[in-house]
Amino acid sequence: MSSAEELTGPGHPAFHLDEMVLNMGPQHPSTHGVLRLVLHLDGELVVSVEPQLGYLHRGFEKLAENRTYLQYLAMISRLDYLSGFFMEWSYVRGVEALMSIRVPKRAEYIRVIIGELNRIISHHIAYGDFLMNLGASTPFVWAFRDREDVYDLLEMVTGQRMMYNYMRIGGVRWDLPGEFEAGCRKFLKNFPAKIDEYEKLVTENEIFLSRTLGMGIIKPFEVLDYGLSGPNARASGVDWDLRREVGYSVYPEFDFKVPLGQHGDCYDRYKCRIEEMRESTKIIEQALDAICGGPVNIKMPPMLRPPAGDVYRAVETPRGEYGVYLVSNGGLRPWRLKLRDPTFSAISMIPKLTAGNKIADLVAIAGSLDLIMGGVDR
């Protein structure tokens, strides 16, 4: 029984006077986009929460059925806009599996490098927004300052800052520019010190600890029940990372750790993301060392006709397992495309985690789950 239930239970009618219904969002500073939470409050206590989705619904799955396989690539990075490259990657992996295409080695290395850079900037937002939710303003600004370095690199490679459209079925659009490697190595050299700087500001702060330790605990079996993945699952000790378990692309060649938490609280989720940024820099370094020459894509016909069949392919995005279920009937367009977004599962945890806590804890928990609504409301 949570403390709210104790207070509002039938035994204490004196406390059950007036429950306030508060609509948090869709326009609210800390609901990250357009999540709407209907809160039932008893003073400061949250009695129950009901997430309401759909404010960013654009019909992405249906739109795929009206476009050719290549046309849809330009749209898909708009889903989870902070990790657009992974959206493209998951979709491209699905189509490549359908058509049994072998991607050139160099293209796989490039995918890993750009993907891990994208993971870093996504975790920057997770770090900054989480701390912003907790009321600290500087970490957010620092995160945005350092994101800029990565954005410069990504712009150099793809020509875009957020919606890359850089993947192609059978490779990537074009090769890395000549000055990319030097720029990337310079970033990798400076970045670990910047992570130390973030941690110095926040991790041992007593207020931060008192807000996050033991707050919003997700138990390992709940991770399985709710289908959580990514850092949210690993913070609860669920040792599952598609990069290692499935070993897609060239990930098996790299030596990296999968950071795990022990308690599954907000602190562990924060810490997992910080450690993943460190691991990502290591992966990029190894990929830059190991990258080989060769073509970066295969010559493909402009109109793809994958053979009839269905396939599920997933990649490990910064928020967890992003899955694409693709059904082809042998035509020019996908017959059905189903997307699996990890944030959707994370949002379903919110009512369970927040009932009985305070409004401030709700905001902390939502921040620690790293919610991006773009992928949820497809």
């Binding site: 508060l22 600004v141 040792d239 599952w240 305070k358």
Partner: protein
């Protein structure tokens, strides 16, 4: 007739001075805060309007003043309009007893310290009215939070002010300044000074105690429904006016007021006020926000016992050594503060996190899915 002239001669200069201080602080401090926060976050801050952005506050005020004055249709109209005026009472009236210079106090009351406490307690009223009259749930929660918070932190604040009264032997603020002729009370009673700063930051609803206007939870708390001129009034004049007044009182009580090295002038008061406001801005850039129950626990379980202990011990020392009590009390307070800083993390964790840490200790997770590799963030 003469009584009217008397009133005008006595009242008008003080009124104008108090108003000028508040307007100046509303012009300087929000801009300074944005600039300094910018530098601390590796940004530039507003630097477009005028040289180094110095005209930014005027541009902001101009913008806010020409905006439409909206009263929400469901608000309690009279109280909604009244709240900013009520809130301005504290910063205006507190300045009455502050010694601005060697021979200028608006009114040198012999109960100045009590007066400061009484007028300071008034500030919660404006916020509560604003929060309630807005008829907005965020505002209401913000107003209630500020009421709970300010009443709790009033107590350690008053206890430190009592300590100053004991050290001075008078309630007049002029006497307080004169008593700090040789050494500042902040050096004799650093613990009291630090408690004054912490409790004051909480009273002012500033980071890390900015729960009443926590923008990530309550949008803007009790200010949410206010816009245009009234927002400028509440945010600029009242909030920053309160900060200024808190810094003025703090400099007078603990940092020697207008006294300073080389010469005595109100310039020293201004310098000390600026330094204290800088501390607030520094906190703002550094700390996350506490949570309401932790905030209460920190007031009632840490600050109040500590200031009571300090008060009792200092009083006992003054009884034991009535003639030269300065040195023993100073040693005591420095010792207490050393202990406080040494055990601060442990105290905070014990008090703020006790139940949750126990929970963590009992429920250590075991890995249910084991992958192929090994990892760990808490080695």
């Amino acid at each position: 007739m003469s009584s009217v002239t008397d009133f005008l001669v006595n009242f008008l200069p003080g009124f104008v001075l108090a108003l000028m201080v508040i307007i100046l602080s509303a012009v300087i401090f929000p801009f300074a805060a944005r600039r300094i926060l910018g530098f601390m976050g590796d940004r530039l801050g507003p630097n477009r309007v005028g040289p180094q952005g110095l005209l930014q506050p005027f541009a902001d005020f101009l913008k806010l003043f020409i905006k439409e004055d909206v009263t929400p249709s469901q608000a309690h109209r009279m109280l909604f309009l009244l709240a900013p005026a009520v809130a301005l009472v504290t910063p205006m009236l507190t300045q009455v007893v502050i010694p601005f210079g060697e021979d200028y106090t608006i009114a040198d009351l012999n109960i100045g310290l009590i007066y400061i406490v009484a007028v300071g307690a008034f500030s919660v009223l404006g916020m509560l009215i604003a929060g309630w009259a807005s008829n907005n749930k965020y505002s209401l929660v913000g107003g209630l939070r500020s009421a709970a918070q300010m009443i709790s932190y009033e107590i350690p604040l008053i206890l430190t002010i009592v300590l100053v009264a004991i050290l001075t032997g008078s309630l007049s603020l002029n006497k307080v300044v004169i008593a700090q002729d040789s050494v500042w009370f902040a050096a004799i009673q650093p613990l009291a000074f630090i408690i004054y700063v912490i409790a004051g930051v909480a009273e002012l609803n500033r980071t890390p105690f900015d729960l009443p206007e926590a923008e990530s939870e309550l949008v803007s708390g009790y200010i949410t429904e206010y816009g245009g001129m009234r927002f400028a009034f509440l945010y600029g004049l009242v909030e920053w006016g309160n900060v200024t007044v808190w810094a003025m009182a703090g400099s007078t009580l603990f940092l020697g007021g207008w006294r300073g090295p080389f010469f005595n002038s109100s310039i020293w008061l201004a310098v000390k006020v600026l330094a204290m406001v800088l501390v607030i801005i520094w906190f703002w850039a550094t700390f996350p926000r506490l949570q309401i129950d932790q905030l209460m626990a920190f007031a009632w379980k840490v600050l109040i016992p500590l200031s009571l202990l300090n008060l009792a011990a200092t009083s006992a020392f003054i009884l034991i050594w009535p003639d030269n009590f300065l040195l023993p009390t100073a040693i005591l307070s420095w010792a207490l503060i050393a202990l406080f800083i040494l055990f601060f993390p442990r105290i905070v964790r014990r008090i703020l996190l006790n139940t949750r840490l126990k929970l963590l200790a009992t429920r250590r997770m075991t890995t249910v899915i084991s992958g192929t590799g090994k990892g760990g963030i808490r080695s």
